[in-house]
Amino acid sequence: MPEPRKIIALLVFLLLPGAARPALDIRITEGMEQALPIAVVPFGWDGEADVLPLDMHVTIANDLARSGHFAPMDDQDMPQRPREFSQINLADWRKLGMESLVIGNIRATGEGNFEVEFRLVDTYRGTQLAGFKIPAPYKQMRRTAHRISDIIFEKLTGVRGAFDTRIAYITVKKTPKGKRYSLQIADADGFNAQVLLDSGEPLMSPAWSPDGRQLAYVSFEAKNSAVWIQDVLTGKREKIAANPGINSAPAWSPDGTKLALTLSKEGDPEIFVLHLSGRSLQRITNDRSIDTEPVWSPDGSRLAFTSDRGGGPQIYEVGAQGGSPRRLTFDGPYNARPRFSPDGASLALVHGAERQYRIGLLSVKQGYLELLSKSRLDESPSFAPNGSMILYTTTTSMGTELAAVSVDGRVHQRLAMQDGEVREPAWGPFLSSP
């Protein structure tokens, strides 16, 4: 249980960035041709309008639209604004092709707390698909909206929603005194951005702990790479690896007890596993080539990594206790920086060929590689915890920003900062249990 003062600090933080403008502006650049029409009706509220921290139905509709799976109806096109199931005129909605309807109410429960009740309605069958009452403290209203979006998404697509999640990323801003690097986190919709670390030296490779409470990253603040672990809530941090040579590429084991990383203290970059309690170090690879960018399989039994032992960089896999690695990629001269899908069946990676670096998806069993992104300088893929989207960095003549693509390649998004560069996104774990 964190100390009360720390909780207060966090709450203030959550309040400050304001609901008005997200740090990252997320836009769909390519959606699904057959996005599902849905109407999210303004929620009923009997109090003063400015008491509520956000427009609940707008946040939900934006979540659903951003996923690319839904085409929410504009408020002004709605034939009615029912608050209760009994008020719904099903025929009116059916006529407009609105198969799914979301209605709800917000009630004040005292002391700045609220209760949000919502229903998801199938207008063709005239049935309620989901209905929940969720208590929502003032500061939690945005998360409540994301939870409702998660429920709607799961009911209608069969896939667990990943709206109530956070992302971490690195930003770079040019100042008169040189570049400033920062490690930031934000809600998955780009709101509530918080700076966790600001530095005049480069920062790299943010990695979430499986419980979402800590981030491991690489900082050059001591004029050489070092791996740190920082508590997201308190900001307290600890240096984990600062040996001569490279200290980088941290990756948490699925149970959170170990960190795989790359160290070159013995001469060339090798994969090590650091046991966090007791700090014992176990060497996994042993080869004179570059071995780096480890990532754990979701069941924790294997590590995938990048190695150029065969000439150019390719993806290999090795048991989490070591052993002889097995090569996984054979397609093209450059495959690097693997990330397992949550089900372990595929790997997102950086595929380089013919002067283009794109995000590819490799089916681990079949060895089939599919290219998902379309630019020429894409890197750092990171899966959403539900496996539906891959977030990555893209560089164009306009600069460096984030982009996302659905695993079926149909939905494309851009996530741009208001100023400066943003890169190396890491999509965090689910925040709440299903």
Binding site: M204, I246, T262, P313, V350
Partner: protein
């Protein structure tokens, strides 16, 4: 700057280059020397010894091969290109002739591909230069290595002309 000052202290030298207040960094020191004839004269004096690489002043002589502080590499390669062998040899000879001098090699990569692999590539480039310098008589203890991967490009830009200047190893004294 700290390195240069330490160098001066360590040797107890009163070389003009060390006492020059404009030695903000190695770049500035080089510029300072090239301003007038005095620098060149001094360099000739210090270079008159038996050691081919010359004394410490050679470090600040714009006409010395030591004034070249960067070597460049081909894509995804750490092989020292023929046109940079002279530079590597000059720095190796200088270290061999001045065994109390320490320096560091900073390896870098262009932005293409993955960042962590590029961090490793930057280190491999620095190691490749170090290995060659040790073969040529420098002591391994004199040379430390850092890699910044693609994190510190020398030139901003997303084309081959920028990339070719970012695939590099810098010699820092």
């Amino acid at each position: 700057m700290i390195r240069i000052l330490l160098l001066c202290l360590a040797l107890g030298a009163t070389l003009s280059a060390c006492s020059s207040k404009s030695a903000k960094d190695q770049g500035a020191a080089v510029e300072d020397k090239s301003g007038g004839g005095a620098g060149k004269e001094g360099a000739q004096t210090y270079g008159a010894g038996e050691e081919k690489a010359g004394g410490l002043a050679a470090l600040n002589d714009p006409d010395s091969p030591l004034s070249v502080r960067t070597v460049y590499f081909d894509y995804d390669s750490s092989d020292i290109l023929p046109e940079y062998r002279g530079t590597v040899e000059a720095h190796a000879a200088f270290l061999a002739a001045n065994p109390t001098v320490n320096m560091s090699l900073e390896g870098h990569a262009d932005e293409r591909g993955s960042r962590e692999y590029n961090l490793a590539l930057g280190e491999r480039r620095a190691q490749s230069v170090k290995r060659q310098m040790v073969l040529l008589g420098a002591s391994a203890q004199q040379i430390s290595i850092t890699s910044y991967g693609e994190e510190r490009p020398a030139v901003e830009g997303h084309d081959e002309s920028a990339w070719s200047q970012n695939r590099r190893v810098e010699f820092l004294y």
